[in-house]
């Protein structure tokens, strides 16, 4: 089925609940409209980037740590969320004193003008969708800075989740006909064309 056909409904991870009625005038509906081309594309797959890798990394008061997340060039960053747990492992709302700044590596342009409170990204597991998906170009990295503005308390077990869609390989029709797994014959040199 050609999902780029506008008469074909979009069924993807954005709205798994088919009984959930959308009110078409809110931010989320508008952003999903902006993402329609991306949602209908067949050659991209979901990739969640977790920063930092080690969720137990400690962030001291007044401290800022910087990470670089490697992303395949050509990917689109479309959402951000923050996950935080307490010592018992229960999910908790990130404190307002936890600040995040995300900068795209090729252009050095940050997603937001300044550091933003991590509490803005806490939507109970649903990502905060960007108003426009951000294309990640060569060299393919995103810089994430996490700061602790609290003068007393440490921040621990907090991770920033970057929701991306990553380009996959595309086969044209000729390659499909000639490719062994799809019915074609193997070439001596391992090539197709």
């Amino acid at each position: 089925m050609d999902t780029s056909d506008p008469t074909v409904p979009i069924v993807d991870g954005f709205l798994y609940d088919l009984t959930l009625q959308q009110w078409g005038r809110d931010y989320r509906a508008s952003v999903l409209g902006q993402l329609e081309t991306h949602r209908r594309a067949a050659s991209y797959r979901v990739r969640w980037i977790v920063v930092p890798d080690d969720s137990f990394e400690l962030l001291l008061p007044y401290d800022t740590v910087e990470y670089q997340a490697r992303i395949t060039p050509g990917s689109y960053l479309w959402g951000v969320s923050v996950a935080m747990r307490n010592a018992a492992g229960a999910v908790i709302t990130p404190p307002v004193n936890m600040l995040v700044r995300i900068t795209e590596g090729a252009t050095k342009i940050p997603l937001y003008d300044d550091f933003i409170s991590a509490a803005s990204f806490d939507l109970q597991g649903v990502p905060q969708m960007l108003s426009q998906p951000r294309l990640i170009l060569e060299p393919g990295y995103v810089q994430v800075e996490v700061a602790n503005a609290d003068p007393v308390n440490n921040i621990t077990q907090a991770q920033v989740l970057l929701w991306t869609m990553e380009p996959c390989l595309i086969l044209n029709e000729i390659q499909l006909r000639e490719c062994p797994p799809f019915g074609g014959a193997a070439k001596p040199n391992g090539g197709i064309l």
Binding site: D2, S4, H38, Y62, A147
Partner: protein
Amino acid sequence: MSTPAPLAVEVVRRSSYTGEGFPNCIRIANTADRCLRGDTGMWSTIQKLGGIHRVSISEMIRYDREPWLLMPQLGRRFHRRGSVVLPLDDGLDNLVLEWVVPVGYDGVINQLVSMFTGVGFIEGSGDIRWRLRLNEWWVRDYANVVTSLGDVQQPFTLAGGGIRVKANQRVRMYVNIAVGAGAWLDPLGRIVVSTAGWFYPLR
């Protein structure tokens, strides 16, 4: 034993698509894919040509060099200073200097001064801590400074381009006197801070 047939994915890794780390996943393109790949190709071309500012024909301000590295002709220098008597040794942050970046300008702080004019302070002891803040962010590496930085004759110059500031951003410097440190710090001494650099117009 015959050589096993190569996987299709091994072949298409030799694709001319410029990128690395191609995921091991085969898909068939549709119209939406071609649209997105075309978008990617267009922006890659703009990037190779030097960025949107190079290819734009608008009348925006152009800088030959990064304006936060070399002060441009339209730049304006600034030098903001603050001074307070030695605050109470209560372990709390005390505001010494506060100013706002003017609207329409970004800037860079490339010189700092944080000093105590009295006696009794031992560098690195933690009795006095200076902090620099931009809006709600405690600036990395300058949020917990336990030594003096420069003086009024010889400011401390930041290496590598300084600290960039944005339009309408609030810049604050604080001092924190450790609990009990007032017993040996000169009560007649003053805390002196300053920030210097330049503003440049936004493009």
